[in-house]
Amino acid sequence: MAEETRSDGERHPLFMPAILLGGVVFGFGLGLSRMYRPEVVLRFLQLSDMGLLLVMGGASAVAGIAFAVLSRTGRSAPLTGAQFGKRVKSLDRNVVLGGGIFGVGWGVSGICPGAAYASLGVGNVTIVYALVGMFAGAYLQGYVRSTDDTGAAEVPS
């Protein structure tokens, strides 16, 4: 849903700057919220600091309000012409299995993709171990799943 509909040649000149700005604000937030520190995430998972609930709650509330308001206008996005919609992904066994595997990894390392990118920006060179691991894991599952077409019809987001 909501994928950009134009081809590369006719993309709006402000498309990439908007993506970049969104990423910068997003990454700054990951810094301010200390989510770039695996230690802070692990303290939440050890139930000794509930701050992460404020981070995820605040972020999803802001996003949710914008999604709800904009999707009700019936208008389309100015830079892509895409209809404003919600995040649509099908619920199947992989959602639970993948969530479980991600949960073990998050519980072991205290790191998730966005926070790891921001952590690198803060200058945390040690986080490269987590980034190498993530690419290896993503490649491993892609290698295995290349033999079937599961997810081929999945809608991008």
């Binding site: 990454g27 937030g29 600091d49 914008a66 999604f67 998730c112 993709p113 894991g137």
Partner: protein
């Protein structure tokens, strides 16, 4: 006080950080209609180097360029945080093998489960997507259990 027990390290930076994270997704959504997540970058970037069918799907090849820009934005946002209000050059004390092993599981799990803490946790929860709510409940529950086991085994940091 209850707040000091649950939030021994304060609350304002968590909430403000969360609002910035949400604002970053809104910048992208309001301009392009895209509900972005951070983990698809792993697979879409692998499409540049792997010919495996899983990575060569249109949903990865058609979005890989802006996902690189989004991720560079997150790194840049982390750097801006580190150089202004944060501590640039801070490094984690979590052991390298935890980051690497956890990272592999995060790479597998986020891709198999169709998203991570930003895609499902922020955009999906904000959309009140059933798929995302199931995924988030799964990974948060499993991660708390995993972190408790790791702590019980005496692994620090």
């Amino acid at each position: 006080m209850l707040a000091e027990t649950l939030l021994p390290n304060g609350w304002l930076h968590y909430l403000l950080g969360g609002l910035f994270i949400g604002a970053g997704t809104v910048v992208i959504y309001a301009t392009t209609g895209i509900t972005a997540g951070a983990s698809t970058f792993l697979e879409s970037t692998l499409s540049y180097v792997s010919k495996r069918s899983r990575f060569q799907q249109f949903r990865f090849t058609s979005t890989r360029d802006w996902r690189v820009v989004f991720t560079l934005g997150i790194v840049l946002g982390g750097a801006i945080y580190g150089l202004t209000v944060g501590e640039f050059g801070w490094t984690t004390e979590v052991q390298w093998w935890r980051l690497l092993f956890g990272g592999v599981l995060v790479g597998v799990g986020t891709r198999l489960g169709k998203g991570c803490t930003s895609g499902h946790g922020v955009c999906g929860v904000g959309s009140l997507s059933e798929t995302s709510l199931v995924n988030v409940a799964t990974f948060v529950g499993i991660a708390i259990g995993t972190a408790q086991v790791v702590m019980a085994l005496g692994v620090t940091p």
